[in-house]
């Protein structure tokens, strides 16, 4: 990873010019970070200001590192912090950025009113958390007083564009994603996880940290000590895993989406136990083993070698029949959720599809159909394949951007 030194892009002089009333601008900067989904807690803001007492604020590099160390809590926010830092403290709204990797990103501007509210809000919050660092607050107060003389001419300089990079990327249609944005995207994909420890089932398993006493086990173990219970064994509720069976359409009509969806499934399969994945267009293929590779690069290249019917025609009914005949007996269980990713464009036999969907309905706990075309408000499931399957589907959801995939995960968690 390349090291970013803002001093290259932001000169000391720039910094000197824009760095008066430092406290207020630091708070504004924290606000700007928050708007870009960088979690900067009030306590962290106080830390940042407290840190200013210890650094030589006339030196840009020290100032930069102080803010970075105090405000951030994860290195995944480093790039956006660096970018915003350069823009904010140089005072140039659209400063040219290091590297070419952000060139394709659209910029969202918000009106200035929003930003002028910033410092007031932060100040309120600051007072709210009184006991979390009194020393630093006092330090801040002293500095604020010395700055107050200059406040008169500061109002016109608070107008800065606010960026919402991640937010736009989340809501961006997979169709419009530029290759330059892939890097940020892969990171976001990793954040989509189903934490399977969250849900607790009805059954128990013995656990050291459990709160419930396992009476039978304690008594059983006591027998070797002559019936005296020396050690008390505890148990906890067994986490309930979401068991997924994913069937993804990789026919020509799904071309734009399939790469992203496969990546999504790859990440999903990593964190969900017992997930099974299949792809189909005119045939069906099980790709669970391929996707369980440790590197996504290897997995994808293996996939392209072994799946020969990629971007082919579509025979949904036929593929489902193949699934039911070859894998159905093992995978069709009432504790599994079936997820179908397809746009429903079908050239196969509709009656077969209906019949297979009926088998699915009986065999699986729930059926979720993810359809990228659902992004259009006026979309109606009119194409034959979709219309025939509709009665059997429990959840019909869009899947054209990250936000919708997040929504899908939320639903899986609830089932």
């Amino acid at each position: 990873m390349a090291h970013f030194i803002p001093a290259q892009f932001l000169t000391e002089i720039d910094f000197q010019v824009y760095a008066h009333n430092l406290i207020e601008r630091t708070l504004l900067f924290a606000d700007l970070l928050r708007k870009n989904r960088v979690p900067v807690h009030t306590a962290k803001e106080l830390d940042a200001i407290a840190a200013l007492q210890y650094v030589d604020i006339s030196k840009l590099s020290e100032f930069y590192m102080a803010l970075k160390a105090t405000m951030l809590v994860s290195n995944k926010h480093f790039p956006i912090f660096d970018q915003l830092f350069t823009q904010f403290w140089s005072g140039r709204g659209n400063a040219s950025l290091p590297g070419g990797d952000t060139s394709g990103v659209p910029v969202q501007k918000q009106n200035t009113k929003d930003k002028q509210r910033g410092p007031e809000k932060s100040a309120e919050e600051r007072q709210g958390s009184a006991n979390d660092g009194k020393d630093s607050q006092e330090g801040a107060k002293v500095l604020l007083q010395s700055d107050s003389k200059e406040q008169g001419n500061s109002s016109d300089e608070t107008s800065l564009p606010t960026y919402s990079l991640i937010e736009t990327l989340r809501e961006k249609d997979f169709e419009d994603i530029q290759p330059s944005e892939f890097v940020g995207f892969d990171e976001l994909f990793k954040s989509l996880r189903i934490n399977d420890k969250e849900k607790r089932g009805r059954r128990f398993k013995s656990s050291k940290t459990g709160k419930i006493i396992d009476i039978p086990k304690s008594i059983r173990q006591s027998r070797q000590k002559g019936g005296e219970i020396i050690k008390i064994f505890t148990k906890d509720r067994k986490p309930r895993h979401a068991k997924l069976v994913l069937i993804a359409d990789v026919s020509a009509s799904m071309d734009i989406y399939s790469t992203f969806l496969i990546k999504f499934i790859y990440e999903l399969q990593k964190y969900v136990r017992d997930a099974e994945t299949f792809v189909f267009s005119t045939q069906l293929k099980r790709i669970t083993d391929i996707l369980s590779h440790r590197s996504i690069g290897t997995a994808l290249s293996l996939l392209s070698q072994s799946v020969l019917f990629w971007s082919g025609g579509t025979d949904i009914g036929g593929s489902f029949r193949e699934f039911n005949n070859s894998y159905g007996g093992k995978l069709r269980k009432r504790n599994r959720i079936l997820v179908i990713l397809s746009d429903g464009w079908d050239t196969g036999d509709i009656e077969t599809l209906k019949k297979q969907m009926e088998i699915f309905k009986k065999g699986f706990k729930k059926i979720i159909w993810l359809n990228p075309n659902l992004k259009y408000d006026s979309y109606q499931p009119l194409c034959m394949g979709m219309a025939a399957s509709m009665p059997y589907i429990d959840y019909f959801l869009p899947c054209h951007n990250l936000k919708t995939l997040e929504a899908f995960i939320e639903i899986v968690k609830k089932i």
């Binding site: 990873m1 090291h3 979690p39 807690h41 306590a43 962290k44 830390d47 407290a50 840190a51 007492q53 210890y54 650094v55 030589d56 590099s61 020290e62 590192m65 102080a66 160390a69 105090t70 951030l72 809590v73 994860s74 290195n75 480093f78 050291k208 940290t209 590779h293 440790r294 590197s295 996504i296 690069g297 290897t298």
Partner: protein, 295 residues
């Protein structure tokens, strides 16, 4: 920096203890010392997170108190325990002598076994407390840690509250096995240790492996940098580099060639797929290494 130790001093002192640290790390350490706040270090495995604390203890002339976290770690193992056996013996002794035993007699310092956190708080001089791999402990332990980290005090019901005379310098390391709780992160300064630049890595090799020739060190550092940009399952850290350098010096090699790369790839990669990939791309890696230092 308006404080006792400047960045340069820290760097110099750490170099004397054979830890080559960059400006950013030195700066965060300074800040952490000045603000008396815990320092949370994250980074890929094998970049020297734990080493920072060890070296820092040497630099400051302070005692290093280490708390290695693991699953199922609880308060008893981290704070204090009463020495029950000794207490029972004492009661027995009172019994035999026909004296009456008071609770105050057996809940004293003599019967207390201090564990790392209490040791750090009670330390008569400034100590360095290393909480290693905090992410492998349970979430419950993390919330328990909060009290200690924010107030540096420990409450023992029988004895009262013990407050730190000197706030220890706390270094917390995490490998990101799971995401840490926000409340913990909020109380710390944060630094992410990146892989070193080729120049710095060369310095590290020269420092840590005595007797290695400069050309070999340069070549090794040159190979490592492009290697880390590749998509391995587990990328080699500095620790692996040092192992490899050691291996090459033992083999008495003056030059890295494809044959020796095959032989010693076990030092760098611990997964079958990674080893295979490394063997496939070794010629390319050697080629790239030549240009690294020219850039």
């Amino acid at each position: 920096m308006k404080k006792t130790l400047s960045i340069e001093q820290i760097k110099e002192a750490m170099r004397k203890n054979s830890y080559i640290c960059d400006d950013q790390l030195a700066f965060v350490i300074c800040l952490s010392l000045a603000m008396e706040k815990p320092l949370l270090l994250e980074g890929e495995p094998g970049v020297g997170k734990t080493e920072v604390a060890k070296v820092l203890a040497d630099v400051l002339g302070a005692k290093l108190i280490r708390l290695q976290c693991y699953e199922g770690l609880d308060a008893a193992a981290t704070l204090y325990e009463w020495n029950y056996a000794k207490q029972l013996l004492k009661i027995k002794l009172f019994d035999v002598c026909g004296q009456t035993c008071h609770l105050e007699d057996i809940f004293t310092d003599e019967y207390l076994i201090p564990r790392p956190l209490l040791m750090a708080v009670r330390s008569p001089e400034k100590a360095v407390l290393l909480i290693d791999e905090v992410d492998s402990a349970d979430a419950e332990f993390e919330s328990f840690l909060l009290e200690v980290l924010s107030d540096f005090q420990v409450t023992i019901p029988e004895m009262g509250t013990i407050k730190a005379i000197h706030k220890p310098l706390v270094i917390i390391t995490s490998n990101r096995v799971r995401e840490l709780h926000d409340a913990l992160k909020r109380r710390c300064l944060y630094h992410y240790i990146e892989y070193p630049t080729p120049e710095r890595e060369m310095e590290i090799i020269m420092e840590k492996i005595p007797g290695i020739n400069e050309r070999l060190a340069k070549q090794i550092a040159g190979i490592m940098a492009p290697l880390r940009e590749q998509d391995f399952f587990k990328r080699p850290g500095v620790a692996e580099t040092l192992d490899w350098s050691q291996a090459l010096t033992i083999l008495d090699k003056e030059d890295v060639d494809e044959e020796v790369m095959d032989l010693t790839c076990g030092c760098l990669f611990k997964f079958k797929e990674d080893v295979k990939r490394f063997k496939d791309t070794k010629a390319e890696a050697l080629e790239k290494a030549k240009t690294v230092f020219e850039e």
